[in-house]
């Protein structure tokens, strides 16, 4: 059974149709890249998977591990092992990063009927990962993302992913706004989390990120659906030829 099965998904945002019969299958342990031009619906797919509330599904199904998740609240989806790394992580004033991580982790464990993490156990998990991602203790004490640089925010997303250990991670344009050094740190962080038990959907506009996070498959989106799928070489082809070839196809 595939980990994620999206079938004939139609989504509207404020009355405007964005996803238009999207079908996508992600296998367990697979890293899939989703590429496509601006406006093709990549970020909408990410949000609709995570359960953002102004995204209206008019048709289709989404199954995670065989379970229909479209009726679930965002927190329930997270507890089922879905994680979205935001393209633009928000600043959460007044909530310390450490408090946030612990609250999130224990909320998920509670929903799954697992015991809460003890403080030392939790601290150990955060310290190890934050060190690898170059996130200082000071950043962990500060309010979530407040005053963080673009790169720090993206690293913080990967830290959250590492702490929460999802089985499906959706990375929405994690490369946007990063210089090459920051990109490498983030990609290394993601690669360390690759495992046969964890699938990833890497959404990106550019091929550059895929030099560092090498995908198993590449799907191309245009006009709200997947129009082409292939191996990692498809990304290179897109880089060379651009997206113009798909412009009219899905209309």
């Amino acid at each position: 059974m595939p980990l994620l099965e999206v079938k004939n998904l139609h989504v509207e945002v404020e009355g405007k149709k964005i996803l238009n019969g999207l079908t996508l299958t992600i296998e367990k342990g697979q890293v899939a890249a989703i590429m496509g031009p601006n406006g093709s619906g990549k970020s909408t797919l990410a949000y609709v998977l995570a359960g953002k509330d102004n995204y209206v599904v008019t048709e289709g199904t989404v199954r995670l591990g065989g379970e229909d998740i479209l009726g679930m609240a965002p927190d329930e989806r997270a507890a089922k092992g879905l994680f979205l790394a935001f393209q633009y992580p928000v600043e959460v004033p007044g909530v310390a990063t450490m408090t946030f991580l612990r609250t999130a982790l224990n909320a998920q464990r509670k929903q799954r009927g697992e015991p809460e993490f003890s403080t030392p156990e939790f601290m150990k998990r955060v310290r190890e990962t934050s060190a690898q991602l170059g996130i200082s203790q000071d950043m962990l004490r500060r309010a979530v993302n407040v005053g963080f640089s673009g790169g720090e925010k993206k690293r913080n997303e990967i830290l959250q992913m590492a702490v929460l250990e999802p089985r499906l991670a959706v990375l929405d344009e994690t490369d946007s706004g990063l210089d090459i050094d920051a990109l490498k740190i983030v990609a290394d962080g993601v690669n360390r989390l690759r495992s046969p038990e964890r699938s990833m959907v890497v959404i990106t506009h550019y091929q550059r990120l895929l030099n560092y996070i090498v995908p198993d498959v590449v799907h191309v989106m245009a006009r709200g659906r997947v129009v082409k799928s292939g191996g990692k070489e498809l990304a290179l082809e897109l880089e060379a030829k651009g997206y113009a070839q798909f412009a009219g196809e899905a209309a």
Binding site: D53, A79, F83, L164
Partner: protein, 437 residues
């Protein structure tokens, strides 16, 4: 203020007149003090209770909100067991109890007192301090202030001697004790002499279901180079009506921090009138209100920069649930010669329900030209994008919202310098949040 003569009195106004006629001969203080009471009541009687057409009171129409005048509260009984103000349990302080509007040494715990700090009954203080002119503070030209002056039944005078740093906070606990509604009119005088330092906590509390009334007045004189941190904590019972007036005169190069925390009461108005009389003073006036049900809480502030080179920051936050109504009125006046004034006012209201209402009325009256002044106000529901972010990490909706509200209100409470009080207020806010779900 506007003076409007009326022939018809409301039931509450008639009740107040009757109460004054009955009590005038027995209220404490003779001679000049009796004359002061008489004059204040006459001024009140001429205008009556403030109402919505009086600009300063437009959001808190006391004529409509105060249905009847309660009888004057009687003497306190025996002190009940436990902390006089449970919200402050564990905070090391000299506890000064003003019960039903009268100083009650037997309910107080001064812990032997602190060097350079004197606390005595307000009328004893006035009798031995002929130079002190009661009521000569900003904001005394106000109906609630007149009522307090007319009926003041007791209170304390607190003095921190020149150059002394008070060892412990002084906690003035206003308590209503009784099972039937009555009115109390406490008067407190606080003098922080030049170079002195103190933390003053003023709390208001009373039983949950009793419709008691409090018309309190605090006059504050802060000397040159003195520092005062004042924290007012409103934990009144849910049926209480309270109007608290603060009139403060602040000297030169002083430091004044003031924080008003309001949880309880059916109708509450905290009105603060602060005058910077000397140059180079720094002041921060802030507040946090957590309201639910049909609570009505009005924080009104008039800051008068009468001397140059003073810095003032006004930051008020409110969280409004149910059908509650939160009001913030802030006026900053910069007098013509008060150059180099730096005054900034910010108010934020967080609405948790569609039926809650927040009103903000900021005003700047600037008569000097070389100043930095500004104000801002926001009213919003909890941020949907933030809530989604927290939920996407597995935090359920109610918990995500509570976390955001807590962060919002804690940011205001952070202003409280005293660690113990700060923690106590944050804990009270957390408890309030817990009571929502």
């Amino acid at each position: 203020m506007n003076v409007e003569l009326r022939n018809t009195k409301t039931a509450a106004e008639q009740g107040l007149s009757d109460a004054f006629a009955a009590a005038r001969s027995t209220l404490p203080g003779k001679g000049a003090l009796a004359g002061l009471r008489e004059a204040a009541f006459n001024r009140f009687a001429a205008t009556g209770l403030p109402h919505r057409r009086i600009e300063e009171w437009k959001f808190t129409d006391l004529r409509a909100l105060m249905r009847e005048a309660k009888p004057l509260a009687g003497p306190a009984g025996v002190k009940p067991k436990g902390d006089i103000a449970p919200i402050l349990s564990g905070v090391e302080a000299q506890h000064v109890a003003i019960v039903n509007g009268r100083y009650e040494p037997s309910w107080s715990d001064l812990k032997g007192g602190d060097a350079g700090v004197t606390i005595e009954g307000v009328f004893e203080f006035l009798a031995e301090s002929p130079d002190y002119r009661l009521g000569q503070v900003p904001g005394s030209d106000d109906p609630a202030h007149w009522l307090n002056t007319a009926f003041m039944s007791g209170g304390v005078a607190l003095r921190v001697r020149r150059g002394v740093a008070a060892a412990r906070p002084i906690h003035i606990a206003h308590v209503f004790s009784g099972s039937a509604g009555a009115a109390m009119y406490p008067r407190v005088v606080v003098i922080v002499e030049p170079g002195a330092q103190a933390t003053l906590i003023e709390s208001f509390s009373g039983p949950e279901g009793v419709d008691y009334q409090v018309i309190s007045a605090l006059e504050l004189v802060i000397g040159d180079h003195a520092r005062l941190d004042r924290i007012q904590i409103g934990c009144d019972g849910g049926a209480a009506l309270r109007v608290s007036s603060l009139g403060a005169t602040v000297g030169a190069k002083a430091g004044y921090r003031d924080f008003t925390f309001t949880l309880g009461g059916a109708v509450v108005r905290n009105q603060s009138f602060v005058r910077f009389a000397g140059e180079g003073t720094e002041a921060a006036l802030g507040g946090a209100s957590l309201l639910k049900g049909r609570q009505h809480v009005d924080n009104t502030l008039v800051i008068n920069h009468a001397a140059g080179g003073c810095v003032s920051r006004e930051r008020f936050k409110s969280v409004l649930d149910g059908e509650s109504h939160g009001i913030f009125q802030g006026k900053i006046i910069v007098e013509p010669h008060a150059q180099k004034t730096d005054a900034k006012m910010m108010t934020r209201a967080l609405l948790l329900s569609d039926a809650a209402e927040a009103d903000n009325k900021p005003e700047l009256e600037i008569f000097a030209d070389d100043v930095i002044c500004g104000h801002g106000a926001t009213t919003s529901a909890p941020d949907a994008a933030l809530k989604f972010y927290l939920m996407s990490r597995g935090i359920p909706a109610a918990e995500a919202e509570a976390l955001l509200i807590q962060a919002f209100i804690d940011e205001a409470i952070e202003e409280v310098a005293h660690e113990g009080v700060r923690k106590a207020l944050m804990f009270a806010a957390l408890k309030w949040l817990g009571s929502r779900s």
